[in-house]
Structure formats: C-alpha cells, structure tokens
C-alpha cells in the first residue's frame, strides 16, 4: 500500500524509489542466509524430521532382446542411492549409465541383462541404499520401438489417421450447415460448445490423474492450474487481438476467426491425445488395434463439425486453403503428440499438455457462448442451444466409448 502511495507521490517513479523496492528482496536474502546457518537448531525445537521417503521415480521401462532398461529419477531433496535392482522380485546384476547416487531430480538408466518373456506381465524394482523398494508393474513386456525412421513414420501415420482425416471429413458438413436455418446453426454452435466442454473436462481429469502419479517434488494441482491458466489466457489474448481486427463491432468473434480459435482449442487437445496414444503404446499399456483407431476417428469427426459451424454463418466465407489451414491447426498436433509420447514419455509434459488442452477448450467454450449470446437469433436458454449443448456432450460420450 505504501509503495503505491509513494509511486503516486512521484509520478513516473524515480530511480530512488525503484531501488527502494529491492529492499524487501535484499532483506529476504539476509534472513534466508541467517536461517540457513542457524536453521537446524531452530527446527530442533519442534522435533526431528522424519527420514526421507527414499522412493525412486521410475520414469520409463524399456525392453530390448535380452535387456531391460529402467530410467529412474530422484524426486526428493535428499540424495538417493541405488542399492539393489529386482526384476519380478529377484535380485539381478545391473550396470548404470550414470552415477549410482542421484542428486535431486537427476536421472540414470539401469541396464539389466534379462531374458524376459514376450507378452508376460513383469515388474521391476529399485531398492534404495536405505532399503526402500520402489516397484513398477508393466502389464505386458513387449520390445520397445526405438526412434527409427519406421516408427517415426508409424506414429505420424497414426496421428494422421486419428487427427487429420476425421477433422477433414467433419468439415465436409460445411455446405449443409450453410443452408441450415440460423436457429439450427445456433444449435450446432451450442453442440460445438458441448463437445469442447466434454473435451475440456476429460483433459482436466486426465491432467489431475497424471499429476497424482508424479513424485511429490514435481507434481501438484498447481502444475495443472499453470497449464490451464497459460493456455486459457493465451487464447483470451489471441481472441481479443483477433476481435480488434474484425470489422463488425459486436465484440464477439465469428466466422473464420472463431473457427480458428476452435481449431486451436481442438489442436491443443489433440496434441494431448496423440501423447496419450503414443506413450500408452510405447509403455505396453495399449493395444493399438484397428478398432481403437476407428474409435478415435469416429470420436474426432465431431471435432470437424465443431470447426465447420462458425464458418457456416451467413455472410462469412472461407477459402479452401483457409479450411485446409483449420484442418492442420486442429488435426496435425496429434502427430508431434504421438512422437513425444512414443519416444519421450514424460509425465510432467503430459500433465502440462492435458492442462493446456483443458484451458484451451474452456476458453473456446466461452468464445462460442459469447457468439451465441450476441449474434445468434435464439437466446441462450432456447431449446436449440440447450439441446445442441447437451447433444454435443452426449455425442462425445457415446463415440468415446468406441475408443475406450
């Protein structure tokens, strides 16, 4: 309060006042320094700290013929030393790519010569020097695809099939939508909002459950909030920028601009979806069958419909290249998502991606709602809008069953 008062007294601010603003920081450094030297004796007043959890974060288990590789990270403040390594509850000799004692957030890869059985469940364990065993169960041991040209192409093909193809097909509804009654168009816009809400909630739940599996040091609901806030606010910024450029003064985005936002929202979601498919497959948790791909395709065709609805508004047109751009924006992120998931399998990244997807989807829902309020011929409480919104959620749920 005082500093704002001071700033008010010296409009524009002087160098002296700015320096004064550093005083709390300097004092904080001093206080931290003092505590660091005397801190332990202070803490002793309240009792002894419990020993550290000494659990490893098993980041990735990969299988090569005759070898298992276990990537472990130390998630805690205190150093963590690898004592023994077990496979299926049997101690095995191992070698390390990095140090045996890991400092905070440092990783190393454990190599174990092991004759594993294709398709069998298997568990690996890493025991700390203090005797705490961290185990990870793998549903089925399968050879881990390396980052070869073949597998890069494979993941790209999956991303293409799941992302680009259905969205392109969905956009083919555009001519029909153009001929639709404006009230029905409002219903389809509401449907878009419904399906985006569904995607947002789904992504948020995925982000929270992934976050819960992260080690205490890096996890937390705050990480999810960070992802949601960054993507929501980025899209808000982008939409206000686009709105200023748009010609009509309604303040609500419409036409291609709104379709672009919808495409971005769906694109961020598809990045997460690609990541989920890629990492589940790489970790042997997912059987990538024809049925699953087909399920995702049917699920995602509605996303194309969502993009088409804003463009179908009367008085707006979109060139073929612009439509193609929308498809790429919404569908193509599935491909890098699958690569990242398949080759990196980083859960922190996964949390951020899904959180970002949730934030983006919710922001676009707000934009679409604003569009309906200001430009649609029917009110928000009309049967068209409510029916469309609920249908959007229901369609996503039902088609989602195919991919489950």
């Amino acid at each position: 309060m005082e500093s704002t008062a001071a700033a008010a007294r010296a409009p524009g601010g002087s160098a002296r006042w700015r320096l004064l603003a550093l005083v709390p920081i300097v004092l904080l450094v001093g206080a931290v320094g003092l505590f660091a030297t005397a801190g332990d004796s202070l803490l002793d007043l309240v009792g002894r700290n419990p020993p550290p959890a000494d659990e490893f974060d098993i980041r990735r288990v990969s299988f090569d013929p005759g070898e298992i590789r276990i990537r472990v990270t130390n998630p805690q403040r205190e150093e963590l030393t690898i004592g023994t390594v077990t496979v299926d509850d049997a101690i095995v000799p191992f070698s390390l790519d990095g140090p045996r004692t890991l400092k905070r957030l440092r990783s190393t890869t454990i190599r174990v010569a092991y004759d594993w059985v294709e398709g069998d469940p298997i568990s690996v364990g890493v025991t700390s020097s203090s005797g705490i065993q961290t185990t990870q169960a793998i549903a089925a041991a399968v050879e881990t695809p390396g980052a070869s040209g073949r597998s890069v192409l494979g993941y790209a093909a999956i991303g293409f099939l799941v992302g680009i193809v259905p969205i392109s097909l969905g956009l083919l509804w555009l001519p029909s939508l153009r001929r639709a009654d404006p009230r029905w168009l409002a219903a389809f816009m509401a449907l878009t909002a419904g399906l985006l809400t569904f995607l947002g909630v789904e992504a948020l739940s995925e982000a929270f459950s992934l976050q819960a599996g992260l080690p205490g040091g890096v996890g937390g609901a705050g990480l999810v909030l960070l992802g949601v806030a960054v993507s929501y606010l980025s899209l808000t910024f982008l939409s206000s920028h686009l709105a200023r450029r748009s010609r009509d003064g309604s303040g609500a985005l419409g036409g291609l601009a709104l379709a672009t936002l919808v495409a971005i929202g769906i694109g961020v979601h598809n990045l997460g979806e690609g990541l989920a498919i890629g990492s589940s497959f790489a970790l042997g948790e997912l059987t990538l069958g024809t049925f699953l791909i087909v399920g995702f395709m049917i699920h995602n065709i509605t996303e194309g419909l969502g993009i088409a609805a804003p463009v179908a508004e009367r008085g707006h047109s979109a060139s073929l290249p612009a439509l193609f751009g929308l498809v790429v924006l919404a569908g193509a992120p599935t491909i890098p998502g699958a690569w990242i998931g398949g080759f990196l399998a980083n859960d922190v990244l996964g949390v951020l991606f899904f959180a970002a997807a949730a934030g983006a989807a919710l922001e676009v829902v707000v934009e679409v709602t604003r569009f309906i309020i200001r430009r649609a011929p029917v009110p928000l409480s009309s049967g068209y809008v409510i029916g469309g919104f609920v249908s959007g959620i229901a369609i996503m749920y039902v088609t989602g069953l195919l991919a489950a």
Binding site: I82, G83, T84, I91, P93, S128, S130, G131
Partner: protein, 333 residues
C-alpha cells in the same frame, strides 16, 4: 506410513566396543572355513544370464572375504564334563548393517552381527550368559532348551543400560536357538536379535567340518514382507565367497530358521544327498536333499560329498533364492 518406523534407531550406537566384550572362543584355525573365495568368476565380456552370473566376484553381495567366519564356524566342541562353567557375554547393540549389496538395514544385534554369536556348550555344562542391553529398546534373551522359568527371558525385561545373567544347565543336546522375547515380538525378532545355540551330546559326534547356517530375512521397507533373505546375515554372501570343503571329510551343518514374516524356509543341496537330524537331539535321521523348517525349527545336516566341484545350496523357495538365500560349496579333493 510404516516406512518411517524403520529408522527409529540410534545411528551412532557404539557398535565398535563389542569385539572385546565377546569372550567367544574363536576357532583357532579357520581352515575349514573356506571363505577364501576360489576365483570362479569367468571373465565374460558380454552380459551373463542365469546362475553363471551369480557366482564369484561379480555377485552383488556385501562384505569382504572371511567376514562371516565367526558365524559360519562354531566354537570348538569340548568333552563332556558335567558342571563345567561356560561363560558368554552378549551385548545388544543398535547398528546399521549392509545386509545386501548397497542396502543398509537399521538392525538390532547381539554383539554387532545378525545373526548373533554362536553359543556352544556340552550337555550338563553350566551355562552363564551375561546379557547387557546397549540398545535403545528393552530386550531379553530367550533360549530354547530345558531351563527354569526365571531363566526363560520372557518376564525379566532388560531395560537399556541394564544387565541380566542367564544361568542354567545346558540340555538337552541338539541344535537350539536363542532370540529376544520382548514385545512387539515380530519387531524384536526381525530386527535381528537371534542366533544359534549348540549343545553337544555327552558322547561326542564323529569329527566333521562343522558349519553353522542361520536362515533369515530382512524387511527393509517396513511393509511386513522380506526384501532380502540370507544365511548368516548377508544376501548372496556364499555365492560371492563359496564355502570350501574337503570331499574326504563329513560336512556337518547346524541349520536353524529364524526367518520372520514367511511361514517357512528351506534348505536344498544340489548334486548330493544328506542325513538330516531334526533338532539334532536323537539319532534318527532322514536321507534327503531338501528340508523344510518353520520359524524356530532347526536340525543338523551331515553331508558326505561323492563328487568334487561346485554345488549350489539354497532355499527351495525360488523367491528366497533370488533375493539372496543361495550359495555354493566348493568341494575339493
């Protein structure tokens, strides 16, 4: 949550003052004991799978050569002389032990080792064991065998810093054991307070290469299941340092099971049969290559090796084998 309870131990307890307190006669010459590791490691350049990877220098086992000699080789047998006084000093100490390669366990020990020292007497000796509690919790020593109820180590709880002298006649002959009997019992046993107690018969057993093997386990993360198994306290120790024995002479093993949490443990010998005397208190034996023991069960094994070479011995619970309870005899002519 239980994982935090595992280290409620004084890290700095004086484990080093023990050796002089221990009046145990050391075997004058540990020539049987063998812990000289025959360098059986075959210098492969590529990864070796299976048991071939688990013998010799590359085995992930703690401890150096000869480290377990005092637990493996019992004190020498003395002739039958009723009323002779046999004295032992036993001190309970909290101590961090490396029980498996690179893994420490906050153990409660008798005389600094898990299992504790081998206590040996001849039947009708008067056994006097002075127990001092140098640990951080109350403890006792409960001996198996025949003795008065006030020497049973159940009612006379010895507080930290206190002492108690157990004084009784050693009988009957056979292999017995001793362990702490303070509650919580499971905790006091699995922390490491146990050992072998040999009572020799009035008529001496025939000469043999004598070994003691106490089977045990360690729950290092406090989840009520053992993470490691061993004989004489160190996982895979006898795989790293095979026990060298002579083919020409009987090998006698005093085998006791003190494994906590698991219902049974077992001993299986490869390539050979042996005579198994349950509890070692009668002449009755079974001729077999595998015996099963519940906690507190023990017996005497006598092996006359037909062949020289390396013979594996291990628990015939594969899980225990692969978590540390296995080793090799190196039988030489």
């Amino acid at each position: 949550m239980t994982k935090f309870s595992r280290r409620d131990v004084l890290l700095g307890a004086a484990p080093f003052a023990i050796a002089p307190l221990c009046k145990l006669a050391l075997p004058g010459d540990a020539q049987l004991a063998s812990a000289r590791a025959p360098m059986t490691h075959r210098g492969h350049e590529h990864a070796v799978l299976g048991h071939a990877a688990m013998i010799g220098a590359d085995v992930p086992a703690p401890g150096g050569p000869h480290e377990l000699d005092r637990l493996l080789v019992p004190p020498p047998v003395l002739p039958h002389r009723p009323g002779r006084l046999r004295e032992y000093d036993v001190v309970a100490v909290d101590r961090e032990l490396e029980v498996a390669s690179g893994v420490t366990f906050a153990a409660w020990t008798y005389n600094g080792t898990v299992p504790g020292p081998v206590i040996r007497a001849t039947e009708d000796d008067r056994l006097r064991v002075k127990f001092t509690n140098g640990g951080s919790h109350p403890h006792t020593i409960h001996f198996h065998g025949i003795h008065p109820s006030n020497m049973d180590g159940v009612f006379e709880i010895v507080a930290p810093g206190q002492s108690f002298t157990y004084d009784f006649q050693a009988r009957p002959y056979g292999l017995h054991l001793y362990h702490c009997h303070t509650t919580p019992l499971k905790k006091h046993i699995h922390k490491g307070l146990y050992g072998a107690f040999i009572v020799d018969p009035p008529k001496p057993r025939k000469p043999a290469q004598e070994l003691v093997m106490v089977m045990n386990g360690y729950d290092t993360d406090g989840d009520g299941e053992n993470n490691f198994y061993s004989v004489n306290g160190l996982a895979f120790y006898y795989a790293k340092y095979p026990i060298r024995v002579r083919r020409s002479e009987t090998v006698r093993i005093y085998l006791a099971n003190l494994t906590e949490f698991d219902l049974i443990n077992s001993f299986h010998l490869h390539g050979e049969f042996f005579r198994y005397y349950p509890t070692g208190s009668t002449d009755q034996f079974e001729y077999t290559d595998t015996v099963m023991l519940c906690q507190g069960q023990r017996g005497i094994i006598e092996i006359d090796f037909h062949n020289a070479g390396q013979f594996m011995f291990h628990a015939h619970q594969s899980e225990f084998t692969e978590l540390g309870w296995m080793g090799f005899f190196d039988v030489v002519d």
